[in-house]
C-alpha cells in the first residue's frame, strides 16, 4: 500500500483515477483507519486530503458556510458564526465519538462512510446542505442527502472527492436541532437520531419545516408530510401529537441488539417532537 499526500485537488483526483478500484480517501481516518486494521482490508493507495489548500478551513461566502472536507468536527464548535447559524448541525457533529475522535473526525467522512446511524447526516439533510464534488469528469454540486445510497455505499464515482459541504445562510428566524438516543450518555452509536429545521413568521407561526430521521432506515428518512403538519401552527400540543405519530410511522427501522422496531419507531416520534420544540425556541431567539 502507498500513502500519498497531494497538495492540490487535481493531484488527488489524478492519483485516485490512476488506481480507481483499490484506493481510499483519508480525511480524519476514524472510520478508515479502524477498517484498515481488519485482516481483510486490502488497498493499494491511501490519499490523505488534509494537506490540500483550503480543505481544513471554514469560509463564509455568498453561498453560505463552505466547510472544507478535512475540517475536524471540534473546529465547527469553535466557529461562533456557524454555531449561531446552524446549532443543530454543530451539535450533531459534536456528538461523534470522544474528545479525541472530535479532533480528527469530519462531517464529510461521516457522510461518505454512509453509515445508517451517522450523527451529522440527518442534520445536514435537514438544513438541505449541498456537497461540492470534484472528479475526473469535472465538478458537480449535489444535495448531501444524495451522497449515501445505502449502508456503506455512496453515489460518488471512482476518482471523485467531496471537496466541501456547503450550508446555506439560514433565513431570518430559523432554528435547528438534533437529538439522538443512545443507552449511555456518550461514545455510542445512535439508536435513533432526529434533526429538525424550522423557520418562523413574524407572528410566531411556523413558515417552513424540514425533518430528517437517522438510524431508522438504510438511508436518512425525510418525512415531508410530517414536517408539513407543523407549518402554519405554533406547535400546539395537538399538532405535536400528530407530528410525533407521523414521524413514528415514517421510520422503517430494523431489530437489532440496540433496539427493537417498535421501540425505535416510538423513540423516532418522541425525539422528533422534542427536536421540533428546541428548533422552534431557537428560531425565536434569532433575529
Amino acid at each position: 500500500m502507498r500513502y500519498e499526500r497531494p497538495e492540490t485537488l487535481e493531484d488527488a483526483v489524478g492519483l485516485l483515477s490512476a488506481t480507481p478500484e483499490r484506493s481510499h480517501i483519508l480525511a480524519g481516518g476514524t472510520d478508515l483507519l479502524v477498517r484498515m486494521k481488519n485482516d481483510d482490508f486490502d488497498a493499494d493507495l491511501v490519499v490523505d486530503i488534509k494537506r490540500i489548500a483550503g480543505m481544513g478551513e471554514i469560509a463564509r461566502t455568498d453561498a453560505g458556510f463552505v466547510i472544507g472536507a478535512a475540517v475536524p468536527c471540534a473546529k465547527l464548535a469553535e466557529d461562533a458564526a456557524l454555531v449561531a447559524a446552524w446549532p443543530g448541525v454543530v451539535e450533531a457533529a459534536n456528538l461523534i465519538g470522544s474528545t479525541q475522535i472530535q479532533s480528527r473526525c469530519t462531517m464529510t467522512g461521516n457522510l461518505c462512510n454512509a453509515g445508517p446511524a451517522a450523527d451529522s447526516v440527518p442534520a445536514l439533510v435537514a438544513v438541505d446542505a449541498r456537497v461540492k464534488i470534484v472528479g475526473p469528469e469535472g465538478n458537480r454540486i449535489i444535495p448531501a442527502r444524495d451522497v449515501p445510497v445505502g449502508p456503506g455505499q455512496t453515489s460518488l464515482a471512482p476518482g471523485e472527492i467531496v471537496a466541501a459541504i456547503v450550508l446555506p445562510e439560514p433565513a431570518p428566524q430559523t432554528g435547528s436541532a438534533y437529538l439522538r438516543f443512545i443507552p449511555r450518555t456518550e461514545m455510542d452509536i445512535a439508536v435513533v437520531g432526529t434533526a429538525v429545521v424550522l423557520t418562523r413568521d413574524a407572528d410566531g407561526t411556523v413558515a417552513s419545516a424540514r425533518v430528517a430521521l437517522g438510524a431508522v432506515g438504510p438511508r436518512v428518512i425525510v418525512p415531508d408530510d410530517a414536517a408539513q403538519m407543523l407549518v402554519g401552527t405554533t406547535l400546539d400540543d395537538d399538532t405535536l401529537a400528530r407530528f410525533e405519530a407521523a414521524c413514528s410511522d415514517a421510520a422503517t427501522p430494523i431489530d437489532d441488539k440496540r433496539g427493537t422496531v417498535a421501540f425505535r419507531k416510538e423513540v423516532a416520534g418522541v425525539l422528533a417532537r422534542r427536536a421540533a420544540k428546541i428548533a422552534y425556541d431557537r428560531a425565536g431567539e434569532t433575529q
Partner: protein
C-alpha cells in the same frame, strides 16, 4: 512494502523515522522510537490509552498514520514531566491514588492536560464528558476526576 521517511517534532525535539504506509503513529512511537508511555488498549479509538497531542489537539495515536506526522508537532506523555519535576496532574494522580494498574494513566494525563489547556476551571461534568473517550477498568473514575479537579485548582493558584 516500501518505507516512508518522516520528519516531525516530538516533545520539542526534531525526530526522523522510517515507517510503513499502514503503520500507526502509536506503533511508530512505541516500536521505532522507544517511546513506550503511550499504550495500546484497543487500537480502534475506543479507550484513549494512546492519547497524544497532534498540532495542539488531543488524538488517539492508534488512529493516526505515522506518515501523517510529517511536519507536525507531537507531544507524548514522555514530555509531561521535566526530569524529576512532575506535572501537577501527575502529582495529584499519585496523591489521589487515581491509578491502579496504570495502563490508562498516560492517556488520562494527556487528555486531562489538553482539557486544562483550554478550560482551566472545568466543572465535574465537563471533566467527565471530556474524558469520556478514556477508559479505566480499575479506579471507577472518581479518583481520576478528583485528581484533575485538584490539579486544576493548584494550577490556577487556588488554595485547595
Amino acid at each position: 512494502m516500501t518505507t516512508i521517511a518522516v520528519s516531525t517534532t516530538i516533545n520539542g525535539d526534531d525526530v526522523e523515522y522510517l515507517c510503513h504506509a499502514d503503520e500507526s503513529l502509536l506503533d511508530v512511537l512505541r516500536n521505532r522510537l522507544g517511546l513506550m508511555g503511550s499504550k495500546e488498549g484497543c487500537g480502534t479509538g475506543d479507550c484513549g490509552a494512546c492519547s497524544t497531542m497532534l498540532d495542539g489537539r488531543i488524538v488517539c495515536s492508534c488512529l493516526v498514520l505515522g506518515a501523517e506526522a510529517e511536519g507536525r508537532e507531537i507531544e507524548t506523555i514522555e514530555g509531561m514531566a521535566h526530569g524529576h519535576d512532575l506535572h501537577p496532574l501527575q502529582t495529584k494522580f499519585l496523591e489521589h491514588a487515581a491509578l491502579q494498574c496504570g495502563i490508562c494513566t498516560p492517556g488520562f494525563l494527556m487528555a486531562a492536560k489538553a482539557l486544562l489547556d483550554v478550560n482551566p476551571d472545568p466543572t465535574e461534568e465537563e471533566i467527565r464528558f471530556w474524558l469520556a473517550g478514556n477508559l479505566c477498568r480499575c479506579t471507577g473514575y472518581d479518583k481520576i476526576v478528583r485528581a484533575v479537579q485538584d490539579a486544576a485548582a493548584e494550577m490556577r493558584g487556588d488554595a485547595a
